[in-house]
Subunit: 455 residues, 2 copies
């Protein structure tokens, strides 16, 4: 979408193109930044500028508004940026001297927004930081822990993660846990962080120390980034008493505290808020403050203990997730099976329904899949709450006759990861069913406490 | 799953089978109800009984616990039940005399839990009530409105709804709105009520009166049912000043008030709570109390006005919804297109991502779909928040180069319904894109207010 003819005329007159650095003066105030393309929704008469803070603003080009190319070629922030270059980072890391007397933790950096920086030419964000650069803006972390080792098995935005990444990551985390560090902190993209946290929860056995995943919703080089605070709280969680795999991110919009949420009960619930990660059907394990205060909210957390942590990272990647909705064609199940899929999670409606109209094609497809050895696991598309196969007659048919597996209060995403993990061990239907119904890592709770709704 | 050997011995001794009415005495207290099959998760030594209230309880069969067949063949509630038989209902409806001086509304009953009753033989729930029976337990409704007409185009549980049902329903509602009633109340199953409310929001044009969808999470014949309170509040909403299609259900766990939520911004967020319906990325239109108090929470609601309401209920049913997740195979897009699908909603991660790894197969699949005339609309799988195609480089490729349509802050379910509606009008890509990006019925908000998160 283009700007309006009027705005285009103004831009042409000033020889200004998208991504140029411009200065817009309105009512005596000047805004400098990069000219952005017009967003798809919005006033075509308003220019959108990405300010050096990283924020976009729209300014209506009306009478008295002056638009010109900026005299400054680079934002002031770029000087700070230069320090990120490799040689200088080394220097700045020297400045960030870790104290060997502080508790040692390992850091594993996997990419994501927390390892990204604003590309000042386009105003976009790209994944480009070295792992050690992530710490650049949080020198206070050295007052809390001694980051004695730093790994980066891969650097990707988390929407690009595949199950093999979970396995590779689990192997490194497993190795690190069995050294003398007190815990492991993982920096990670946020989009699929909850899939990774679920995978690590299942893969790591008899966990002896904390494994803390964190990330950021705004890149680390922005003034408004949540990265620093998340890292401070996460380093606290990593040396805490909680031997859990969990996600540690902002608990509110402010830098008050972070929530440490069990890896099988966390979900990204907002596209951009810093407190996007919420516990579903569960309380967070704890609130963690940057100053070291830890308020545990679940009494049944696993405590730090001596001994080795195990690893069981076999995974069947041939799995799929499908959703039941009005008009959904159950043929999708046959399709997946023909493509070689070994197990399917169905995001069911309400208490665990699939459509049952006209000859029950969905239930037939499920029954046929189960008969051919492909387990079908239902999980609640409402996210909150629990599937209950005993309330409605059609549910009895689906779960008792057709043989679907009732995912209880498991998140669909977690049921998906667990199904791949379980199918990595066995393809025998009865064993798959038994394992899927067994709580392994907090993914199934015995009862849902009312206060956890929309926590 | 069976009960433990110990429990089975006790049951055999008492000649008790599942679905028998039994009495269990523990510590001097006797519980009567139907013996349920053992739930898949739970203590195998605990009997599960469905009490006459509809609630299930588990009782551990330990020393001193007496288990026997009940002397009462039927629950006491069954006497009340008998009144539901057709002849007697007619009588009770006569008792429920509507006052012609009260504001007239039409009621359209479509089935669902609100029209279901407990089957006392199995303890399950089945859809079996006549529309007029729904009102049986809420005689107070006659103090508020004169339900002058009652329709029942179909009686189905909402998980079985298909788009044709939306069209049939819209036609009846449209006809009723253009009579002299003050509004229309629709009783509906809850599982897909938010799809139906979205469809009606798009189909009904220039709405002049309220259209209020309601239902219940527990069947109307149960003491604990939420049906009565929802109907009282909904009848208030139906005669209110708000000419909106909305869902009116419990706002909290108690019978305090209902929320009236815009039809394009509501979602069932819990499998069983009575306050399961929540507004997403929006405030509710209003809080509505059973006594008639209405507290509007959005100022921009559409007001009741004179004039006719229009109808535009063409719908392209050949649409699909797919989800992006780690390991998801983009071939699913080709599959749908080969099956004749005309448009696809992708539940994207974070700010609107699909996986972009190795040769960008997802982006290629999207590009190929769009090139062949099949629009791809991305919507946030986080549910809360807004997709923003301008932040990350891969997003620019997806939305600007490959031609995906950015669903803004539309719920995936609403984007799905809207896509079918838009494709019912045009298949021209540029027009589809323009319409999808145009707010038609409150489905796209200009900005997301922070306070609406997890409302």
């Amino acid at each position: 979408m283009a700007y309006s003819r009027h705005v285009n005329t103004v831009l042409e007159r000033g020889k200004i193109k998208v991504a140029d650095r411009i200065a817009v003066t309105k009512a005596g105030k000047t805004f400098e930044g990069l000219l952005m393309p017009r967003p798809e929704i919005g006033d075509p008469d308003s220019l959108v500028i990405k300010l050096d803070s990283g924020y976009n603003i729209g300014i209506k080009v009306e009478k008295g508004v002056k638009v010109e190319k900026s005299r400054h070629k680079e934002p002031k922030a770029i000087k700070e940026e230069e320090e990120f270059e490799l040689g200088k980072v080394r220097k700045s890391l020297l400045k960030l001297k870790f104290d060997r007397k502080k508790p040692a933790i390992s850091m594993v950096a996997t990419g994501g927004t927390i390892a990204s920086r604003v590309d000042y030419r386009t105003g976009g964000v790209r994944s480009a930081m070295k792992p050690e650069e992530i710490l650049h803006n949080v020198p206070e972390v050295a007052d809390i822990v001694n980051i004695s080792k730093m790994h980066s098995p891969f650097t990707i935005l988390s929407e690009d993660m595949v199950p093999q990444n979970w396995i590779d990551l689990a192997k490194i985390v497993h190795r690190e846990l069995n050294t003398d560090v007190k815990g492991v902190m993982i920096t990670h993209g946020t989009d699929t962080m909850h899939y990774t946290s679920a995978a690590l929860s299942f893969f790591l056995k008899d966990l002896a120390k904390p494994v803390v995943l964190t990330g950021s919703q705004r890149s680390s080089d922005r003034g408004s980034s949540d990265a620093g605070f998340n890292i401070l709280c996460s380093s606290r969680a990593a040396i805490s008493d909680m031997a859990e795999v969990g996600i540690c991110m902002h608990g509110s919009m402010e830098d008050t505290y972070c929530l440490f949420i069990r890896g099988t009960k966390a979900r990204k619930m907002d596209t951009q808020r810093r407190d996007a990660f919420r516990p579903i059907n569960d309380f967070p394990l704890a609130r963690v403050w940057a100053d070291g205060k830890v308020e545990t909210l679940k009494k049944d957390f696993r405590r730090r203990k001596p001994g080795k942590t195990g690893l069981d990272a076999k995974f069947e990647e041939k799995i799929a997730m499908v959703k039941a909705y009005p008009g959904a064609d159950p043929h999708i199940i046959d399709y997946h099976i023909k493509r070689g899929i070994k197990g399917i999670v169905v995001e069911a409606t309400g208490l665990g329904h699939v459509p049952t109209f006209f000859g029950r094609p969905w239930i037939k497809a499920v029954k046929s899949a189960v008969s051919s050895g492909v387990p079908i696991v239902a999980a609640p598309q409402t996210l909150y709450g629990r599937i209950n196969p005993n309330v409605y007659a059609p549910l009895r048919v689906l779960y008792h006759d057709a043989g679907a597996i009732c995912g209880q209060d498991m998140l669909p995403e977690v049921a998906y990861v667990k199904l791949g993990y379980v199918l990595g061990k066995t393809k025998k239907m009865e064993e798959v069913k038994k394992l899927m119904l067994t709580n392994m890592a907090g993914e199934i709770t015995e009862r849902t406490l009312p206060e956890t709704f929309l926590y």
